[in-house]
């Protein structure tokens, strides 16, 4: 092993990591930083499963060498929620059936976040285009499109500065266990 030593910002925190210099960012994240939320489906740049954000832009972490990331700012799925409050995309994906097995989900969430960050109100066509490099074998994509659209609507009315204001439309809100008369 030829060791490499990096300092990078991951999900807003400065991390120092010593790793095998031949490793990809994907491997550094999963194996050395134990951020296993980032998945892989090919490790050849073909499926989009491993997408993370670098400087806010989606990259395929299986195609980026760890040594290229010194000083980089990386966001993974673990960094999407703010404390216990999920990101509107996460809420919408969970509510709308956009995650079946959930394996493509981290990569798609981050790719969709990059889309909404630069284009807060994308059309269905723009969503499909932005996600065309992310394979999903479970959903047939339609519920993913709907979830992105719902998150876009949520962000429009509820600016993120106000914290977590999004709530799933839940017609069957019920009292909690302790509330019983």
């Amino acid at each position: 092993m030829r060791p490499a030593h990096n300092r990078l910002t991951v999900n807003g925190e400065l991390r120092e990591v010593l790793f095998d210099a031949t490793k990809t960012l994907l491997e550094v994240l999963r194996e050395d930083l134990r951020l296993t939320g980032t998945k892989h489906g090919c490790e050849l740049g073909e499926c989009g499963t491993c997408a993370v954000l670098m400087e806010g832009r989606p990259v395929l972490s299986c195609l980026v060498l760890g040594v290229e990331c010194d000083g980089a700012d990386v966001t993974t799925v673990e960094g999407l929620a703010e404390g216990p409050a999920l990101h509107p995309l996460q809420e919408a994906f969970a509510d709308r059936g956009a995650a079946q097995c959930g394996y493509c989900t981290p990569g798609i969430l981050l790719t969709a976040k990059a889309l909404l960050d630069r284009n807060p109100h994308p059309t269905r066509g723009e969503i499909a285009e932005a996600l065309s490099g992310n394979l999903c074998r479970c959903t047939g994509y339609l519920q993913i499109f709907e979830a992105v659209e719902e998150a876009a609507r949520t962000e429009r009315t509820d600016p993120p500065t106000q914290g977590r204001t999004y709530r799933p439309a839940d017609a069957q809100a019920r009292p909690r266990a302790g509330d019983a008369r």
């Binding site: 499926c47 799925v77 994906f93 499909a128 047939g140």
Partner: protein, 832 residues
């Protein structure tokens, strides 16, 4: 107690309402732990050495250099795995590492276990294997023509794995008496599952020295059995935990060589051992859709009503048995379930070839003959000048009846499915009337809700569920069912919550763990909702009785007057008199002791008692109809699917969000098979080389639909509750795939007048058809010949309406139909 409305229509308090799935949060936060996400202290890594030859004798394996390489802890070869295994008792033809012969490119011959994955990979590259190539058998035609060398020394002789021949009534006589007889050849190309998660497994010894295997498997129970067998260990010393699967679609239903290898390695090193397959290796694991060549002959009355059907199928099975003995029978068993077929002959032949083994992929053996029949029905309608929708409506199989091959049908909502998609697509106004290049196609299908028999013969439950209720009000459900993305966790939680009057999110789940959970046979054959669901109802009803008894005593009313709803237990006649759910548990625990219940389920006995009748029976059948609208570019042959209308008879919707997702996912996968997906191989001229390599073992080259190819899908659920389903529910995970490919083919015909009798329907095929049409030939693209197969004598069974009792002519009384359940035709199933 108030009834819970089992079998009733309309939503309950939990079921039927759109809801976030119970495991939704974990999946969007990246907290779902898949097998490769597990990192254990002192964990070692394993790499397999795979054969570059399609068929060869192993002369010698030199592992010396690998053993001496840095970081290497263990090297294993076929010598270490003397005991064969396989998913079906009738085809125990695999070894974890090949011993004397490799049978396809990618067959593993050695394993290296090292401190890091990289060291394992580097050492694996140092292993020298000396091979002596054998004749390559590349196709079923070659398998039939080349009895020697045999790929396996069992089967039906030569390179034929399985033969079957059933005659339900005198088909020849009926065909002679038919007004018209239609005969066509069809070919359905093989395809693979491509779960986005590559298979991974971790094995370790627990603190007590017992073996634990975590694996991305759909069938932990069968893996448990096969591990015990292949490692020659008592099963109770082994624990198998199915991690949530990152997609499976049938591709993680076999016990796999890599699982057995890491288990052995953990036993020998005393350390955790992980293996994660590369994408290329997943293509070699395969077990995907069988390529099937079909000859279908159908006799009809003047109005198109079927009088008899005669089907022959030839399967390219690949190098091992896998589920193939069942797959072969599935290419015919369900042909009688959609439409009424008075007489039916079915002949199937599965061959061995030197390719990765085929097995069960979503729809298991059924999409191929559905494609054949649905395209042929379209041709019959055109020939008779009938609307294809009417041709189908006039002969839907009758509900609550027996088929010619003695399958017991339950509720059938196919009529409504057809009517909804016909209306939705404006079929009657638009079919045959759209401009050249645009067309509509219709197709229908049916599918099982769980195989009626287990893989290995036994009379035990197929599904078990245990419930634990404690004084906190928490309910925990334990079930062997495996979450593969289809939503089995959510189904179980919803059903328990519905019965107990709590929320789905109140139910904790422990699933797919052979130490902790009662056996469930696995997430295959669309069985979990019906079987684990019924077991969950039974367990929850039993718990409810206990709670009601204690609560009734406290409230001074009879238990029958109690309702469970909104996390309360109360008097229906005086809803203010009641208590919280947790208080009811406390009362019950005080009165009765610790509260735990079990439920189990075994499907009803089949009416079919002939040999080979283990494949096809199910507690219920789902029905689907689809209309596809397609654009065909006459210049390029490119087919674009513009829109899909699909009606699915689901019995009862449990969670509309998830049910819709299953339909759309099935449509997506069906479109992939219809238009682009193919697991195909490159064969060099045999005189130059014996090579037979996978053409496209990568996600870039293996074409699958992306977000840009996915059309709009309009889904209609027909709720025709089935008495055997939990709350009337039937399956939704596989059936909706079946009508897609034939509907696309029929739409292409409506668009440009070209019959493509094969999938995938490539631009090249469409162009060839258009050229033929231009030259005045019949515009048909598809197979031209069906090779000679030496069929065995027919097993003759009289259909129910001809006095049959489900046994074959000349059959001795006994349990014949049971043998080798789950599909095998053998009679020597049990092996425990």
């Amino acid at each position: 107690m108030s009834g819970d409305g089992q079998g009733a229509r309309g939503p309950g308090r939990v079921i039927g309402r759109p809801r976030r799935r119970v495991d939704g949060r974990a999946k969007v936060t990246g907290q779902t732990l898949f097998a490769d996400d597990l990192f254990l202290p002192r964990m070692l890594f394993c790499k397999l050495v795979r054969s570059p030859h399609p068929h060869a004798r192993i002369v010698a394996v030199d592992t010396a250099a690998a053993r001496a390489a840095p970081g290497v802890k263990l090297v294993l070869t076929g010598e270490d795995f003397p005991i064969p295994y396989g998913i079906m008792p009738v085809s125990q033809d695999e070894h974890a590492l090949c011993r004397d012969r490799v049978r396809h490119v990618g067959d593993p011959v050695a394993a290296v276990v090292a401190a890091t994955e990289r060291q394992a990979a580097e050492a694996a590259g140092l292993i020298r294997v000396q091979y002596e190539p054998l004749t390559t058998i590349a196709s079923p035609e070659e398998a039939l023509a080349t009895p020697e060398p045999r790929i396996h020394d069992y089967g039906e002789g030569g390179n034929v794995h399985r033969l079957a021949h059933f005659a339900f009534g005198d088909v020849d006589e009926a065909l002679r008496g038919a007004d018209r007889v239609f005969e066509d050849l069809f070919f359905y190309e093989g395809s693979t599952h491509i779960p986005l998660e590559q298979h991974a497994a971790v094995a370790a010894l627990d603190p007590d020295g017992r073996l634990t295997l975590w694996s991305s498997t759909q069938t932990p129970h069968y893996v448990h059995r096969e591990l015990a067998r292949a490692l020659d260990m008592p099963a109770h010393r082994i624990r198998v935990i199915a991690t949530p699967n990152g997609g499976a679609f049938g591709g993680k239903s076999d016990p796999f060589n890599h699982e057995i290898v890491v288990a052995k390695a953990a036993l020998l090193t005393g350390r955790p051992v992980k293996i994660g397959l590369t994408r290329e290796e997943v293509f070699y694991c395969h077990r995907g859709r069988h390529p099937v060549l079909m000859r279908l002959k159908t006799g009809v009355k003047p109005d198109g009503t079927i009088v008899a059907m005669d089907l022959e199928t030839l399967l390219d099975g690949g190098a091992y048995g896998s589920y193939g003995a069942a797959s072969a029978l599935y290419t015919g068993a369900l042909q009688t379930v959609t439409y009424h077929v008075p007489r039916y002959r079915f002949r199937a032949c599965r061959t061995f070839t030197n390719k990765p083994p085929c097995g069960p992929k979503r729809g298991h053996g059924t999409p191929q003959p559905r494609f054949a029949q649905e395209v042929q029905l379209d041709k019959i309608a055109v020939a008779l000048g009938k609307d294809p929708a009417d041709l189908r409506l006039q002969q839907i199989a009758p509900a609550h009846s027996l088929t010619a091959n003695f399958l017991k049908l339950g509720s059938i909502g196919l009529r409504e499915c057809i009517e909804r998609v016909v209306d939705g697509s404006a079929w009657r106004a638009r079919r045959g009337k759209l401009p050249f290049g645009r067309g509509l196609g219709l197709a229908c299908s049916s599918y099982l809700c769980g195989a009626g028999l287990p893989i290995y013969w036994n009379d035990m439950p197929h599904s078990g569920v245990q419930l634990k209720l404690d004084r906190s009000g928490a309910v925990t459900a334990f079930s062997g069912a495996t979450e593969i993305g289809q939503g089995s966790d959510d189904v179980l939680a919803a059903i328990v919550a519905e019965v107990l009057g709590i929320e789905a999110s109140d139910v904790k789940l422990v699933t797919g763990d052979t130490d902790l959970t009662p056996v469930d046979l696995g997430s295959y054959s669309s069985r979990v909702t019906l079987m684990a669901g019924n077991a969950a109802i039974q367990a929850a009803e039993r718990a409810k009785v206990m709670l009601a008894q204690a609560a009734a005593e406290k409230l001074g009313v009879s238990p029958e007057r109690l309702a469970f709803a909104d996390r309360r237990v109360f008097d229906v006649e005086n809803p203010d008199a009641g208590m919280g759910f947790a208080d009811a548990v406390i009362l019950a625990e005080t009165k009765l002791g610790t509260i735990g219940t079990t439920g189990s389920y075994r499907p009803p006995a089949s009416a079919a008692r002939y040999r080979g009748a283990g494949v096809g029976p199910s507690a219920a059948y789902s029905y689907t109809a689809a209309v596809v609208e397609a654009d065909v570019d006459p210049a390029s042959g490119w087919v674009t699917v513009a829109k899909v209308w699909i009606g699915h008879d689901i019995g009862r919707v449990l969670n509309p969000v998830l049910a819709r997702g299953q339909v759309e996912g099935s449509v997506y996968m069906g479109l992939g098979e219809a238009l682009m997906e193919e697991q195909t191989f490159r064969r060099l001229p045999p005189r130059l080389s014996s090579a037979l390599v996978h053409k496209i073992p990568s996600l870039l080259e293996y074409k699958s639909p992306t977000s840009l190819e996915m059309p709009e899908v309009v889904t209609y659920f027909i709720e025709e509750p089935d008495a055997n389903g939990p709350f009337g529910a039937k399956e939704v995970g596989q059936g909706p795939l079946l009508p897609i490919a034939p509907a696309v083919a029929n739409a292409v015909y409506d668009a440009v007048g070209v019959r493509v009798d094969e999938v995938p329907i490539t631009p090249e095929a469409v162009l060839r058809g258009l050229e033929e049409r231009g030259e005045g030939h019949a515009a048909r693209v598809g197979p031209r010949a069906f090779p000679a197969v030496r069929w065995p004598d027919a097993l003759c069974v009289a259909p129910p309406w001809e006095g049959g009792d489900g046994t074959a002519v000349g059959q001795k009384p006994g349990r014949a139909g049971r043998g080798g359940g789950g599909g095998a035709v053998a009679t020597t199933g049990s092996r425990t």
